[in-house]
Symmetry: C2
């Protein structure tokens, strides 16, 4: 049975039955012309959209449908985390080839709902349409944040240290492993198939007033550092020896004789890159009691607007990572 | 020059320069991880997403890029109109073939901005990514509505009359004309290329307390009547002789010996279908002074859950219109 043998309304009805009961801030959920939502006072709304395309961000040959759904939601929640917003509502816009097996459609939705539920977000609407081309999953996520806790990209100052949550390289290594063998497993594959948006970490950093600015690592560390620095009118200096690599990813690259750090710099790990004033480092204790996630200082923001990587005693331009169209395909 | 010769960040930067200055309820617009928005008190938010896919909803061979952008925004605003919400914010998620000419990209954005500006909505964010497949434009629209003015699908009661704004058939006829001749012009072609979401009409109907329920005609009148009736636990009876057809579309079909009404019933004209109690008809005067748009009574909602079309003295099942996957392709 394929989605082409079901009607759009049947597919939406299936999703509607699958969605948990609405929280009280959802006045009208799936099934009307639009969702109706009731935000509370004293908070700003934070909204983002991001899409995954078959053949660009994943391939159905080696990416299970549940992982496509989970990842589509996670990359959007990661953008909310980068603003220190708490996720509330999701819209799911599905562009489906008619020959997509119905079981894959259902697994994709269940993966999306699993990621939503883990973050406390409600699926409130979206769209289903067909295509003669590749599968596209486009998600819109809306969150809430108290005005004083918002973390913007352009809030950093010269001298702020750059910190990173967790470790890097897992997503790029996991992707390479899956391409070589669709049955590959391990810590790197998990990182690629089920990235964890750093929502609790972001809220804890903002609540402790430890962070001044943040961005998520969605196109590699190089691009994230450059974008945060440029938005703040600054440059940056990253110390290669401090960048935390996922051990599984490092070993895999080293066994193949590849430069683990260079690949990690372009890996979309959905960690948070945070700018923090030196005097705020004492507040990290409060953050660490609320999350078990490692936080590592990897560099500093500079008045000089260049972005450099300090490696083996030499400064080199910071690699740009993965940007659509212009750089290497994946 | 194609979009593939520009980077994702350059394309986003171009959009950012093109967007008018943000209204005061936009705290952070394009350029950060997500947009930050400030809703006001005593209002609900209304959110919808809808995508247009090349080869399904339009073809680049005969649909100018500005019309793709305009239409992508308009179909979403139409969903807000169907809830009587006032549009506020838009996210634009673009899935682009790398060989899309840069001039087409720019015209598409300008078309979207034109439709946004006409409705008082601000483009606050979105995403740009590439594809090896067809162009996809996915829009998320967020509006606001006072709780007492919301028009839900499931609010109709037996005996309520069914009213339609404007006229039907233009979009389907315009689409057929463009497929036959990419240079076709006229009222029907305009209806297809630049549908007008019935925002003022919806707000006026809700403010006058004339309407009890509404839906937009996005998949044809047949589907709209059926969906509104089913959501309200009712059936409906539509009188074929009362359905207002766009004269240009009627003439075109008649010249070709085609049944104009049947095609109009499956035409995505983005008119509003409204359920109105008989006692509210006197309030239409207030609506008519606020908009010049015709409003026509075409049928009634019934306790009997069947949906029928009364034509030439005979009742027949109401045709379903266009639903993705299950029914006729277009």
């Amino acid at each position: 049975m394929t989605v082409g043998e079901r009607g759009e309304l049947d597919l939406v009805a299936w999703i509607r039955r699958r969605v948990p009961p609405s929280p009280p801030d959802v006045v009208v959920g799936i099934g009307d012309d639009a969702a109706v939502l009731q935000p509370s006072r004293g908070e700003w709304l934070v909204q983002t959209a991001d899409s995954l395309v078959d053949g660009v961000h994943f391939e159905r040959a080696w990416c299970p449908p549940a992982a496509i759904g989970r990842r589509a939601v996670a990359v959007n929640l990661s953008d909310l985390a980068a603003m220190a917003a708490r996720p509330q509502w999701l819209l799911l816009s599905l562009v489906l080839p008619a020959n997509l097996p119905l079981a894959d459609f259902e697994a994709l939705i269940d993966g999306a709902l699993e990621a939503a539920s883990a973050a406390g977000a409600a699926l409130v609407g979206g769209n289903v349409t067909r295509t003669a081309g590749p599968l596209v999953v486009d998600v819109t996520a809306t969150g809430r944040v108290r005005p004083r806790r918002l973390l913007r990209r352009d809030g950093a100052r010269a001298g702020d240290a750059l910190w990173i949550t967790g470790s890097l390289g897992g997503a790029a290594a996991g992707l390479a492993m899956l391409r070589a063998d669709a049955a590959a497993q391990g810590a790197s594959v998990d990182r690629y198939l089920a990235p964890t948006p750093r929502l609790r970490e972001a809220v804890a950093l903002a609540a402790a007033r430890a962070a001044r600015s943040a961005i998520d690592v969605s196109d590699g560390l190089g691009a994230a550092v450059r974008q945060l620095a440029e938005a703040s009118g600054l440059g940056a200096r990253v110390d290669a020896s401090l960048v935390p690599l996922l051990p599984d990813a490092r070993q895999w690259h080293e066994r193949r004789g590849e430069p683990a750090l260079d690949l990690a710099l372009a890996s979309d790990d959905y960690e948070l890159l945070v700018a923090m004033p030196a005097r705020a480092e004492g507040r990290l204790r409060a953050v660490r009691t609320r999350t078990a996630t490692p936080l590592t200082r990897i560099g500093v923001l500079t008045e000089d607007r260049a972005c450099v990587l300090h490696r083996d005693g030499v400064d080199e331009p910071l690699p740009d990572g993965f940007i659509h169209f212009a750089s290497r395909p994946r």
